[in-house]
Amino acid sequence: MEVLLFGIAKDIVGKPSFRFEGEDAPPSSVSELKKRMKAAFPELERLSSLAVAVNSEYAEDGQSLKQGDEIALIPPVSGG
């Protein structure tokens, strides 16, 4: 399972995407994804907010994740 990264999240992780692989099962929900990303990259805790998009739509914490979903971390947006 791959997670797309943008803006400051990309800088914190150090690359444009992050892959859950190996022995651990990938996160099964948005809230689990956030928890595990923050555990792996504590600097994400410093952000004003951190949202998750699933298939290019904002996702609630309770939403479940499945293989093949396009998943992205959305740090605070600042367009305009």
């Binding site: 797309l4 943008f6 803006g7 400051i8 800088d11 410093r46 952000l47 004003s48 998009a53 290019s56 739509e57 904002y58 396009e70 992205a72 959305i74 740090p75 605070p76 947006v77 600042s78 367009g79 305009g80």
Partner: protein, 140 residues
């Protein structure tokens, strides 16, 4: 009549085209907002801004904003266009606008378009100063 909407993420914004896109025989009013790179942020001199986006999602969110606006107001045309990449001082980075029979609707819709774009559309702006660069609004 179906409202015609223009939603785009581009490398460079041509401000002069937006009026043609918004003009409509049933519209008496067009309101346009253009955001551009400002030289100073809290008294620090900005050299440039750099924008990046999650494009597939940004286009979807921009289309939702246009739909929401055309449900709230009776509009003939809506434009939402954002630039990405590096932008120098004075360059336009975003243009939004709406046209309607009377001016109340296009003013209110235009304000809604830019406010909601800034709240929801996945675009990120880095301010480049002389000796550092900062992702805007990233941390409290």
């Amino acid at each position: 009549m179906k409202q015609k909407t223009t939603i785009e993420i581009v490398d460079q914004i041509d401000v002069s085209q937006v009026y043609g896109e918004l003009s409509h025989p049933h519209s008496g009013g067009v309101c346009v907002f253009v955001g551009s790179v400002r030289e100073f942020t809290q008294n620090e001199q900005v050299m440039a801004l750099e924008f990046e986006t999650y494009k597939a999602m940004a286009l979807k969110e921009m289309a939702k904003i246009a739909d929401a606006a055309s449900q709230k107001w009776t509009l003939n045309r809506v434009v939402l266009r954002h630039a990405i990449g590096k932008k120098e001082v004075g360059e336009p980075v975003v243009v939004v606008g709406a046209s309607s029979a009377h001016r109340d609707a296009c003013f209110e819709a235009c304000r809604f378009l830019i406010d909601t774009l800034k709240e929801r559309v996945p675009i990120w702006k880095k301010e480049i100063f002389k000796n550092k660069s900062v992702w805007v609004s990233a941390t409290p």
